[in-house]
């Protein structure tokens, strides 16, 4: 892999690419978080004090809510993995064209505010909601699950499923489909092909998705409030109350530290057992800390997985033999049941957003089901309002800058990281991935502290910086996946043909990895476009983003104007993606 020329270069010239990323991390993530941490150790007068922590542990309230938060996140993760796996499998095995269309379906939730989606769930699940009206029309009894554990679970699952699916899909697409063929020729029936070959190979994706969903769910505060009862209170909600209603930022910091500590424990355990690199699709080479205990845990984990795969394989085989599962499928074929299930899940992911479409044309002034009459008044008021126009433009604008910044910073970092021989590579990678598993609320809070002191609150620059931190890991991971398959000999060839390293980069490397750069750019854009928590804290004044505008609007009045805005964005984005993929396909056809 390594060549003489490269090993002659100094470490600095090999690793300069990671420096901007590391700098961004330090400035926008580490320093603010440390400051937040610090502020939680001071009292109102600024003196060092443990009063916030004394208060935190003086009652069982905060630990109870933390436990609630963990329980809720745990079940959300379980359901996301169970429901998301077949979808990811279906996507991984279907043709590129179909996959693109279905991914649009999976991405639908990103284009409306999480708050509005929660209201959509209320419309669907409510006492006189879509679901119950439907059930009654069929002569069945209505069900009553709204404002309970179940409705929160549904809301959170729907919010987290896209990420779970895309994470698992990335790993599944790398599995060599010939392995399934090989297993079949060696005598494995469908159940065994899947459970003993495919499933174990897809596990890194499953565990990465699990971690991302779990930790992201820890920071939720909108869905549980709107869809749940007080028993589903999650910890982020208490943080928001301390900041907004009490102006007690130190105590908010202390609660955030509690959440951060809990997240880091989860993160640490994950790294020990699975390896943090799996978030970036890296394969774990050796146990990082081969203490006997964790080696033991790792080994027994493997044994357990193997045993579970076996058990599943035999159960599935039994089902095949009694004819409940189809046995004579080609090994890479997806069964009709899986397809149906996957389509149903995608439908459920998109459903709450799709409910908004008819409501946006409602003649009435509220979120009613069924919508009363037909009118375009909500679209008119949307276009009449400069606020909405500005918010949309602002979101696009901030999104573009975020995407640009993360791509410019993330690309060299990915290049540096995907080549060998960088000292502390693992550590840098882990650091770059941390924003993925930091609850947004903590970062938002930390940034709010620091930005408010240097006057960045309420500026686009502040927003771009805040969003970039969250988009950066996705950009780096996307780029690294592309670069893993990049043949470095092409660079060497260009050099021998007389191109300078910079020319080589622009004339050879970049054109080849262009698709990856574009994907990273889009990912970052989406991440920023959908971001609410940071925007909630550090946008202000004139710099309102679309999610923030939807949020503040919905805090005032749940009017169909929100549905109109959501529908408009949904339509716009779908057209954009479809157009881009059509363009891409035509281009590849002419090539």
């Amino acid at each position: 892999m390594s060549t003489g020329t490269r090993s002659q270069l100094s470490i600095l010239s090999r690793s300069w690419g990671i420096l901007p990323a590391v700098f961004l991390l330090l400035a926008v993530l580490v320093l603010p978080t440390v400051r937040l941490l610090g502020s939680s150790f001071t009292d109102a007068s600024g003196a060092v004090s443990l009063e916030h922590y004394a208060r935190l542990f003086s009652t069982t309230l905060y630990l109870n809510v933390l436990a609630n938060t963990f329980t809720m996140s745990f079940w959300t993760t379980v359901v996301c993995l169970l429901a998301g796996y077949p979808v990811a499998y279906f996507l991984a095995t279907s043709k590129a064209g179909l996959r693109q269309i279905l991914i649009i379906g999976v991405l639908v939730p990103f284009w409306t505010s999480v708050l509005i989606r929660s209201f959509a769930w209320i419309i669907i699940l409510g006492r006189r909601g879509v679901l119950n009206q439907g059930l009654e029309a069929m002569g069945l009894n209505g069900i009553d699950i709204i404002y309970s554990f179940w409705s929160v679970l549904i809301g959170l699952t729907q919010a987290m499923l896209p990420m779970a699916i895309l994470t698992m899909l990335a790993v599944m697409q790398q599995i060599d489909r010939n392995l399934q063929n090989a297993a079949a020729t060696l005598g494995a029936r469908g159940s065994h092909v899947f459970w003993r070959v495919y499933f174990p190979l897809s596990l890194p994706g499953v565990s990465a998705a699990g971690l991302l969903v779990f930790v992201s769910s820890l920071g939720f505060f909108i869905t549980p409030v709107l869809l749940g009862s007080p028993k589903e209170t999650m910890i982020a909600q208490l943080i928001v109350v301390q900041i907004d209603e009490m102006l007690n930022w130190g105590f908010a910091g202390a609660i955030a530290v509690l959440l951060l500590g809990a997240s880091l424990v989860v993160f640490y355990l994950f790294d020990l057992i699975v390896g943090i690199g799996s978030l970036a699709g890296e394969r774990r080479e050796l146990p990082p800390r081969a203490g006997w205990f964790w080696t033991g845990v790792g080994k027994s984990g493997q044994k357990l997985t193997a045993a579970a795969s076996w058990a599943c394989a035999f159960v599935a085989e039994a089902l095949e033999r009694i004819g409940l599962l189809k046995a004579d499928l080609a090994p890479t074929q997806t069964s009709r049941g899986t397809k149906f299930f996957a389509m149903a899940v995608i439908f459920l992911i998109a459903a709450p957003t799709l409910v908004l479409v008819p409501i946006s044309f409602s003649g009435g002034a509220s979120f009613d089901w069924p919508p009363r009459g037909f009118s375009l008044q909500w679209y008119e008021s949307l276009f009449d309002s400069p606020l909405w126009k500005e918010a949309i433009l602002r979101s696009v604008w901030v999104g573009l800058w975020t995407a640009l910044l993360t791509t410019v910073i993330g690309t060299p970092a990915a290049f540096a990281l995907s080549r060998q021989h960088i000292p502390g590579k693992k550590l840098v990678l882990a650091a770059l991935l941390i924003p993925m598993v930091m609850p947004h609320i903590i970062v938002a809070l930390a940034l709010f502290y620091v930005f408010s002191q240097i006057g960045l609150v309420g500026t686009s620059l502040g927003l771009v910086l805040g969003h970039s931190i969250f988009a950066l890991p996705y950009a780096v991971v996307t780029m690294m996946a592309v670069l893993r398959n990049y043949d470095q000999r092409l660079d060497h060839a260009a050099w021998t043909l007389g191109a300078s390293p910079i020319k080589t980069f622009y004339r050879v490397t970049l054109p080849i990895v262009k698709a990856g750069v574009v994907t990273a750019f889009l990912f970052s854009f989406v991440k920023s476009f959908d971001e609410l928590t940071v925007a909630l804290f550090i946008s202000g004044g004139i710099t309102t983003t679309l999610p923030k505008q939807m949020w503040s609007e919905s805090l005032l009045n749940i009017s169909p104007v929100l549905a109109a805005a959501s529908t408009l964005v949904l339509a716009g984005v779908s057209i954009l993606i479809l157009g881009a993929s059509l363009f891409g396909r035509r281009k590849s056809a002419t090539n």
Binding site: T59, L61, N64, V65, N68, F119, I122, G126, R127, R128, G129, I146, V225, L226, S229, P230, K231, T233, V241, D244, E245, M246, L247, W249, G364, A365, S366, F367, D368, W369, R372, F383, L387, K389, L393, W397, F448, F451, S452, Q453, I454, G455, V457, G458, T459, S460, G462, F537, G540, G541, I542, T543, Q549, S552, E553, S554, L555, L556, N557, I558
Partner: protein
């Protein structure tokens, strides 16, 4: 219908400037501008008609409305601490927040001179805070479930007599106020007298215990309460008068009972050290005018603080408003100073109580 291309370009250009230099992105080239933060939505609409446009016409000072957080306390603190101001003044701020901000020394003193200001009752103006609109927390219910009507908060506790789904607010202050009223304490100062002793708190929570299992929804954001009543998800839901009335306006059979309601003034505050504080003070005085307040409450059913405003308000609108004498006399004011002192404690206790069993 469509964004004009030139506008779009201007916006993009302006945004570019905003990204490069973290300063306020100014939309207007008028000689003087005042950036006013409001809660957005219907507030922006009402105040544009009632205040912003007339003010600009009269003074030549352009108003740039921006949307703030629903609770702007943290924004005040952030701006004052950093001495960077995203806006010069904020409206629609609740009196409890005003109390907190004033005690935290985060606001500018106001100019309470002038004829219009003198018409305002003392309880709606202070050195730092001027209220132009009053909101009242009332008993609201659906008349299709309760054709005979509900008379007081105590009826919520009548589990056997009044069948129907109940929703309550997930906020200690409002629930304790309601619980004590339902337990026979008359409103106003009596409530705070009872709560001056620990036994009073126990009494309130004991009363809440009785109803806890009957509460179907604990709502947190106020539009949710309107949605709950509107869709028929619940049948009883104490909420802000304007919320219940908007559900009724949208055609839902929702009735407001003012009896025992408690009100909070909402109004204007200037962040401490704001560079255009003088201009902002001028604007606050403008908001004290009777005709302006009348124009405001015509769009948004809050109670005008200037009694003379009722001269300009249609009868049908007037009797729906919190400060309409007939309604006003049935309600009492929330003691913000008391709740400010007890908020941390009461919130914690209330949250513990909610999570319990």
């Amino acid at each position: 219908m469509t964004i004009k291309r030139r506008d779009a370009l201007k916006l993009i250009g302006a945004s570019a400037g905003a990204v490069v230099m973290p300063a306020i992105w100014s939309r207007s080239v008028a000689a003087e501008t005042l950036i006013v933060s409001d809660p957005g939505g219907v507030y922006t609409k009402a105040w544009t008609e009632a205040y912003y446009r007339p003010f600009a016409k009269e003074t030549g000072i352009a108003i740039v409305p921006v949307v703030r957080r629903s609770n702007p306390a943290a924004e005040f603190k952030a701006q004052v601490d950093a001495k960077k101001y995203n806006w010069d003044i904020s409206g629609g701020v609740n009196s409890d927040v005003a109390e907190l901000l004033a005690t935290s020394q985060l606001v500018e003193p106001l100019d309470l001179s002038g004829e219009d200001m003198s018409e305002i009752p003392a309880e709606f103006k202070s050195e730092y805070f001027f209220s132009d609109g009053i909101v009242t927390f009332v008993l609201a219910y659906r008349s299709d479930t309760f054709p005979k009507g509900l008379k007081s908060f105590a009826d919520i506790w009548d589990i056997k007599g009044q069948l129907g789904r109940r929703a309550m607010r997930r906020l200690a202050r409002d629930m304790i106020e309601i619980a004590l009223r339902a337990d026979g304490v008359p409103g106003g100062d009596q409530v705070y007298k009872v709560l001056s002793e620990p036994a009073g708190w126990d009494r309130a929570f004991k009363k809440l215990d009785e109803i806890k299992s009957e509460v179907r929804v604990w709502w947190d954001s106020s539009p949710q309460s309107a949605q709950l009543l509107q869709s028929g998800e619940v049948d009883i839901c104490p909420t802000f008068n304007a919320r219940a009335q908007s559900a009724a306006q949208n055609g839902a059979p929702v009735v407001v009972n003012w009896n025992g309601g408690f009100y909070s003034p909402a109004g204007w505050l200037i962040p401490k050290g704001a560079p255009k504080a003088d201009l902002a003070r001028r604007f606050v005085k403008f908001c004290a005018r009777a005709d302006r307040q009348a124009a405001y409450v015509d769009i948004l059913p809050n109670g005008p603080s200037n009694p003379s405003a009722y001269k300009y308000i249609r009868e049908a609108v007037a009797k729906e408003l919190p400060s309409f004498p007939e309604n006003f006399k049935q309600t009492t004011r929330v003691n913000d100073e008391f709740w400010g002192r007890n908020k941390a404690m009461s919130d914690q206790r209330f949250n513990e109580w909610l999570l319990k069993g």
